[in-house]
């Protein structure tokens, strides 16, 4: 019953998005979202509604963040579990939990005042795919590190002792025993983090530059879907609002499909080995 409740919340939310998006669907905006060239919904002369660059931006920013954060988080968790003395390990964990609790606006401000000027010196304007990726990576790092730690902690002691008994070094134990055994836990942590990254709004809006075009390099500004919703929802007229709901709906469905596919691929790989 409780499980059903948990599952039905998502139905409620999807239904809510569909209801919000309905006017836009009815007026046939869907093909425009796919085929328009620019995003200028407020223009009186030539309104255009290109969603694809934003979806691409959402995917790119998330991928960059995951690529940066996953190795760091998992390596950090291995270090935490197998190298760090217990007393220090507790503090390491506290720090990660603290990082998890830094409000997104603080990350955004830090990104805009510290990170963006640095990138700006390399390649203006600084507000870019790269900046958004780094800030997001920092935000999802604690989720990956903490869930990986918890997965590594639950690797049975007996397996580790057996590995030691066989004369395996720590490196071999980590790579051949601990990580494979904790793989599913680490995987679901990374998935959670990816989902979080796609949905993050307030920090990204501050550092991504918000230009709705396909980026040519990591130094180009981008505009993920969530940034558009955050920037325009409070100021949108009714038909524009329906479009934003539609954009949100498409984002949720795309990420759902993506994480589902990742999880499914993971499960299949698990069955093979």
């Amino acid at each position: 019953m409780l499980a059903l409740l948990s599952g039905s919340v998502v139905l409620l939310i999807v239904w809510f998005l569909v209801a919000g998006a309905l006017p836009a669907l009815r007026d046939g905006y869907l093909p425009r979202l796919l085929f328009d060239e620019h995003w200028q919904p407020g223009s009186a002369r030539d309104p255009q509604f290109a969603l694809m660059p934003m979806l691409a931006a959402s995917v790119l920013v998330t991928a960059l963040a995951a690529l940066l954060a996953a190795p760091l988080g998992i390596a950090g968790a291995v270090f935490h579990r197998f190298y760090l003395p217990k007393r220090l390990a507790v503090w390491n964990q506290r720090m990660l939990e603290l990082l998890a609790g830094v409000p997104s606006i603080v990350f955004g401000f830090w990104g805009l005042t510290v990170l963006v000027p640095l990138i700006n010196r390399l390649h203006p304007p600084g507000q870019s795919l790269l900046a958004a990726g780094i800030v997001l990576a920092l935000m999802i790092l604690p989720t990956i590190a903490l869930t990986s730690q918890s997965a590594l902690r639950s690797v049975p002691e007996s397996q580790l002792l057996a590995a030691a008994g066989l004369g395996m070094g720590r490196f071999a134990t980590v790579f051949h025993i601990a990580l494979p055994s904790a793989r599913s836990g680490i995987g679901s942590g990374v998935l959670l983090a990816i989902a979080r990254a796609v949905g993050e709004t307030m920090a990204v809006v501050m550092v991504c530059g918000n230009i709705a075009k396909f980026p040519g390099s990591v130094f180009d500004p981008v505009r993920p879907v969530t940034a558009t919703i955050a920037l325009e929802m409070g100021y949108a007229s009714s038909s524009h609002k329906a479009l934003l709901y539609l954009a949100g709906l498409i984002l949720v469905l795309v990420t759902g499909a993506l994480t589902g596919w990742l999880a499914f691929g993971k499960r299949n790989a698990g069955e093979v080995s």
């Binding site: 002369r45 409070g234 100021y235």
Partner: protein, 271 residues
């Protein structure tokens, strides 16, 4: 663990009802622009102190939200930081303050003055280098506001441009984000609320306001109607206004409460 669920839900529902059962008070609800909300919140606090039976709820969500809530009756007043549009004529606007919109540059930028035509050239991408304006040889980073924002609409109104004409390098939301963008990029240009920019500059932030058409961007010039780019801060209502709400409206524009509006760096209409 599972057993406690109904108990907890029950408890929270119970506490909800205990909240509702308090004695009835007159409630004024205001929703809308995040620019207007802080100053109205402060005014509401002062009003409540002298009117014990009244409770004023201030909630944000943007100017469109204010319009929608005023129309649907969810809010007594909507708060907006722009003029009413032609299709919003069912509403009555009550202007209580003015906010000038000025052009800001990084402090190190030698340019000090823009004509309207220069601004148009910069924002449409005709002029892309500071060299052409007497500045250093560096590419201009054009910062503009997101679609629908009141400041953008005021800027478009002043320059006569359409939002599709603007070729921006970065797009920002709130004023503070525009200011931080200029701080982060010495070659950036942005347009923001004059009061906010002036007070940040006075607080040591390395930005500067520059002249438009030769007019200094100060609140005095905005108050005198000389400065060309400005927007009204107003409450909007739909239909009959209740007596207490009318009192609050008068309170907001009363000369003795002008200090509230000025402490938020807007131009009060009461002087």
């Amino acid at each position: 663990m599972m057993k406690s669920a109904p108990l907890l839900i029950g408890l929270s529902v119970l506490s909800l009802f205990s909240g509702c059962s308090r004695e009835k008070r007159e409630i004024i609800i205001l929703t809308g622009s995040s620019t207007v909300a802080p100053v109205v919140t402060d005014a509401a606090k002062r009003f409540e102190a002298t009117h014990p039976g009244v409770r004023i709820e201030v909630q944000t969500g943007g100017s469109s939200r204010g319009i929608a809530d005023a129309l649907s009756g969810l809010a007594t007043f909507g708060m907006i930081s722009r003029d009413l549009k032609a299709d919003e004529s069912e509403l009555t606007a009550h202007r209580f303050a003015i906010d000038g919109v000025g052009i800001i540059l990084h402090q190190t930028n030698p340019v000090t003055d823009f004509s309207r035509q220069q601004l148009i050239d910069i924002y449409t991408g005709k002029v892309t280098n500071w060299k052409e304006l007497g500045g250093p040889d560096a590419k201009i980073t054009v910062a503009s506001k997101a679609e629908g924002r009141a400041t953008l609409e005021v800027f478009l109104g002043y320059t006569g441009l359409d939002s599709a004409d603007i070729k921006a390098g970065v797009i920002v939301g709130e004023n503070q984000q525009a200011i931080k963008t200029v701080v982060a990029d010495p070659n950036a240009i942005a347009y923001v609320s004059i009061g906010a920019a002036a007070s940040e500059a006075a607080g040591g932030t390395p930005i500067k306001l520059v002249r438009c058409d030769g007019i200094e961007p100060t609140n005095e010039n905005v108050a005198a109607g000389k400065f060309p780019i400005m927007r009204p801060l107003q409450l909007v209502s739909h239909g009959e206004i209740p007596a207490t709400a009318r009192d609050f409206l008068d309170f907001l524009t009363a000369p003795e409460n002008a200090d509230l509006i000025e402490s938020h760096l807007y131009v009060s209409l009461s002087k």
